[in-house]
């Protein structure tokens, strides 16, 4: 590709967005800094969630193990799920959205920069609030799905499920704010010529994901408020003794929970769709079909929630409806996989670490899709539901799909983010240890489930004959953990590396590669005008002289503010203090929030 790198000299006085002391980071409204904050926080929580996973696998390595108590085990598997979904998966997607969307559509920031900061601080404080439960020995222990009526005050008398309901409520607030922000940004802030059907596929998937976030998370919020009211003030929404119905919680939770699955996987689809064309040196095959199938997956994703409930006893008609609906989703998903293969077909494939991750994600996601069809078929879901078969399935989708894609994203955009490269050599080792470790962990779990081991058990009888398979799975988990550690080693090594990244080191086609690596705080010296879907392949010279050349436009970048952080503390307090023994405690948080909001609103930017 004619990448025309370095045809435009870096102007003197260029300063990357990384510039700034700790105060700048605490008050920042720069989408790239907030993206970094989200990313670092998400990785921090990933390590905690991963640690829980390693303890879980160690406990299950042999039958009738007594490493951890039932009480602690139940807290660990609950927090592993909550962490990987709410504190790693979603925030990591949001980290990438933050860093990439404005750069990909030619904007200088997101639509609401301070709202963006507020959303980050609420997320971080919410995550720390949830983990503070370990300090009082009462981490959530009812599963990430928190089924009623086990979650009621009667059957969960401790603070555990209060941390769950209030913690998730806090995190939901942050997510909804983020979703609104990204939708507004994508609709309103595209550079001239960046039509919707010219947007990079990653931004398209972020767009669909954001709609899912602002529609699905409120359902969870309502359900969580009902749960909080039940626990705090004795309402009876889910209390069968008083005529409430615990099954209603399952419906509400999964009406949120299934779109949530697509919230986690669509960003991964976006990442794969960026990496494959770059390293195949070919445009994405069937761009519009890829967009439409992503939108379709998002839409149908709303009509399949009850496939999580085939054993609940909904009746044959509902079971049949949700069986067929779920299978239909396989069609647009399959189309995506075929189009990825077609993108590579006839290309010049370069097996960089990023490319390895993208290919690995396609290979394993396909596997997870196939086992998904197996329990979409509700009669055999009756055997597979709540067993390790399901654990294997969704880890193939979410680890194989999301986590591998996210590591691919790190290797791919690292030069853009930092101006340096992650080592390809360590990267290759990391890829193979994750890829093999992951498969060794989760492949045997299909059989562990089909041979009769349910999920969420802190122990299992040696009579089941499943000790060997479980041991294999545990060995794989350790190999996976090594893979994650290798990544952190690579990050440290790259800081010492002298090799500097040019603006477009991979010869990629999308707009973010036109600006400096790392970009300046204002992203683009002049707003580019686009005429094609692959600007850096078709109009590189014009784009680069606009975005990196001498600055002719005048623009105003918003200044930092303490009020997002201040207001976030108030919102988190207002919700967290529902746990306090006195009814007026949340009012303290509300008052704090009110002060924050007023100052937030009247501060000049």
């Amino acid at each position: 590709m004619a990448t025309a790198q370095a045809t435009v000299a870096t102007p003197t006085g260029y300063r990357s967005f990384w510039h700034g002391d700790w105060r700048d980071w605490m008050t920042t409204v720069d989408h790239k800094k907030i993206g970094v904050l989200y990313g670092v926080s998400a990785l921090f929580f990933m390590v905690l969630g991963g640690l829980a996973a390693v303890i879980i696998r160690t406990q299950l390595a042999v039958p009738e193990n007594e490493l951890v108590s039932a009480e602690l085990y139940n807290q660990l598997f609950t927090m592993h799920g909550v962490t990987m979904v709410f504190l790693f998966g979603m925030p990591m997607a949001v980290a990438l959205f933050n860093f990439l969307i404005p750069l990909q559509i030619g904007a200088r920031d997101v639509a609401f920069p301070r709202l963006n900061a507020l959303s980050y601080w609420i997320f971080l404080l919410g995550g720390l609030f949830m983990y503070s439960s370990f300090l009082v020995g009462a981490a959530p222990n009812g599963g990430w799905f928190g089924y009623a009526n086990l979650s009621s005050r009667q059957y969960s008398p401790g603070l555990n499920m209060d941390f769950y309901s209030l913690g998730l409520q806090i995190l939901g607030v942050a997510s909804i704010m983020g979703g609104v922000n990204f939708i507004t940004t994508i609709i309103n802030m595209r550079a001239p010529g960046m039509r919707l059907m010219r947007m990079p596929l990653f931004t398209w998937m972020a767009f669909v994901t954001s709609f899912l976030i602002i529609t699905a998370l409120p359902v969870l919020a309502v359900a969580l408020f009902m749960l909080t009211f039940d626990r705090t003030w004795g309402t009876v929404f889910f209390e069968p003794g008083a005529g409430g119905d615990p099954v209603m919680w399952q419906h509400l939770f999964w009406i949120f929970g299934h779109p949530e699955v697509y919230i986690l996987i669509l960003p991964a689809f976006g990442i794969i769709s960026e990496i494959l064309p770059t390293f195949s040196r070919k445009p994405l095959f069937g761009y519009s079909i890829m967009v439409y199938s992503g939108v379709l997956i998002g839409l149908i994703g709303w009509g399949v929630w009850a496939h999580h409930m085939f054993t609940t006893g909904m009746g044959a008609i509902a079971d049949a409806f949700f069986t067929v609906g779920t299978m239909i989703i396989a069609i647009p998903t399959g189309v995506k996989i075929f189009n990825w293969l077609a993108t590579m077909w006839g290309g010049q494939l370069r097996f960089t670490t990023a490319m390895k991750y993208a290919i690995g994600a396609v290979a394993t996601f396909t596997f997870g899709g196939v086992s998904g069809i197996m329990h979409a078929t509700s009669p055999h879901d009756l055997q597979q539901h709540d067993t390790y078969f399901v654990v294997a399935h969704f880890h193939y989708v979410l680890f194989g799909g999301l986590v591998l894609a996210v590591f691919g994203a790190f290797y791919y955009w690292w030069p853009k983010l930092t101006g340096k490269f992650l080592s390809e050599k360590i990267g290759t080792w990391q890829f193979w240890s994750l890829f093999l470790g992951f498969n060794i962990t989760f492949f045997p779990q299909h059989f562990i489930g089909l041979l009769g081991m349910p999920r969420r058990v802190f122990t299992y009888s040696s009579e089941l004959g499943l000790g060997g398979l479980n041991m294999a799975s545990t060995v794989g988990a350790y190999l996976t953990a090594i893979g994650v550690l290798l990544f952190f080693w690579n990050v440290i090594a790259s800081r010492r590396s002298r090799e500097r990244a040019t603006p477009n080191p991979w010869g990629a086609a999308t707009l973010e590669w036109g600006t400096e690596s790392p970009p300046p705080a204002h992203n683009f010296n002049n707003t580019p005008v686009l005429h094609s879907r692959e600007p850096l392949w078709h109009e590189a010279a014009a784009i680069e002289s606009a975005v990196r050349g001498e600055q002719r436009e005048s623009f105003h970048m918003p200044s930092g503010s303490w009020w997002p952080l201040f207001t976030a503390v108030g919102i988190v307090l207002a919700l967290a203090l529902f746990m306090a023994p006195v009814w007026w405690a949340p009012l303290i948080g509300l008052a704090w929030t009110a002060i924050g909001v007023v100052n937030f609103a009247f501060e000049p930017t």
Binding site: P246, I289, M344, F443
Partner: protein
């Protein structure tokens, strides 16, 4: 360099295939909770459907992964290769690979929908009804047809007759799952206002074709000891089933062993009888598990430990030590809103000996049992039946 990596990649996928073949062959081993060896039409229907779905989806999977590997080898970058052609798409190809998966989905979905309705058909005429009640963390089985017969953690059914389960929970949601019998079904607490509506109960219907003991356990996370909420379905030949019922309804003979006899005395005047029943005695408590034929059970505490006098004694001393969260009071610990029992160690041993002596074959039967059967079934009912190989 790329050639090396490519080899590594295909090698990894190849070894995955080998592993999967090995694992599949491992399925013929001894797994008491396997889903692959059903003993009912219910389980066989599911299994047949599973093989159909698996065949289609595995075919797709293998084709996709094979094409992927081919692409990785065939289209790897070569130093002097020309720029690849920029193909943006091909409508015909894209239509084809939308329509073909749609057809495959239909092929999978049609028999699946048929099976859904087949598996949830209404109660058969003349079915043997069992009321299943889930408790944190044990199972209660009541038999409306056999008045007064109640068992805990072991369900007794006749072979060859349709069994129909009415299931509900006394506390939180559980799930009834005996893999060799078939799929699971949740055991939900029924809203108080709708207790009278039978359609609010969940059901399973199956006919066991083969006498034996089939293991299962709760499949819906239900709190601390969800992992120790196991159960066993014991399917008797019809004649044996009749004898078992008869034994259940006969006045239990006083234990001959002096320690057990002392244990019976202690049991009958201690707080035990507030919660537990033993058929044919004055113990008629209904809160805890029914202890009739406790000596025949395979385990103590719904799978907490293998049944023995020693395990029973340790259970009576401190249930939560063997099973986290267990509600029964111990000798020094309170539980379930009851004070400690304060029983002496001697009394505990005596009660354990008494409970272990409670066996169906100790009851004088109208029709004598064939000799030798009891030795086959140390952990079963003591009545002619195939014991589980894993015992």
């Amino acid at each position: 360099m790329t050639g090396n990596r490519k080899l590594l990649h295909s090698g990894a996928l190849g070894s995955l295939l080998v592993v999967s073949v090995l694992l599949l062959s491992a399925c013929s081993g001894e797994y008491p909770q396997t889903t692959f060896q059903p003993v009912t039409e219910f389980g066989e229907l599911i299994n047949g459907l599973f093989y159909n779905t698996t065949a289609w989806t595995m075919a797709i999977l293998l084709i996709v992964e094979a094409v992927l590997i081919y692409i990785l080898i065939r289209f790897r970058a070569r130093p002097d290769a020309p720029e690849p052609k920029h193909i943006h798409g091909n409508t015909l190809v894209e239509i084809v690979w939308t329509v073909i998966p749609a057809i495959i989905v239909a092929v999978i979905a049609i028999p699946a929908v048929g099976a859904i309705f087949e598996l949830q058909r209404p109660q058969d005429e003349g079915a043997f009804v069992v009321d299943v009640i889930g408790h944190q963390w044990w199972w209660e089985f009541r038999y409306p047809e056999l008045e007064g017969v109640v068992t805990a953690n072991e369900m007794h059914v006749p072979v060859g007759r349709m069994v129909y389960l009415n299931m509900r929970s006394a506390d939180v949601i559980h799930s009834f799952w005996i893999p060799r019998i078939g799929g699971k079904r949740d055991v939900n607490p029924v809203p108080a206002t709708r207790e009278a509506e039978p359609e609010r109960l969940n059901h399973l219907q199956f006919r066991v074709n083969q006498a034996g003991a089939y293991d299962g356990q709760c499949a819906e996370y239900c709190g601390d000891s969800h992992a120790i909420m196991r159960m066993r379905v014991i399917a008797h030949e019809p004649g044996d089933f009749q004898r078992w019922v008869q034994a259940y309804r006969t006045l239990a003979p006083a234990p001959t062993d002096s320690l057990a006899a002392h244990g019976m005395q202690v049991f009958m005047r201690s707080p035990c009888i507030a919660c537990h029943s033993i058929s044919g005695t004055s113990a008629i408590g209904r809160i805890g598990p029914n202890l009739t034929f406790m000596g025949d059970r395979w385990s103590v505490g719904a799978g907490a430990e293998e049944n023995s006098v020693d395990a029973l004694a340790r259970w009576i001393i401190s249930p939560p030590a063997m099973k986290p969260g267990a509600r029964m009071p111990g000798t020094r610990t309170e539980g379930g809103g009851m004070p400690p029992t304060g029983l002496s160690e001697q009394d505990v041993r005596a009660i354990a000996a008494y409970l272990f002596s409670l066996r169906a074959d100790a009851v004088p039967a109208a029709a004598p049992l064939p000799p030798g059967d009891t030795t086959d079934a140390p952990a079963g009912t003591g009545i002619s039946m195939q014991t589980h190989d894993a015992d």
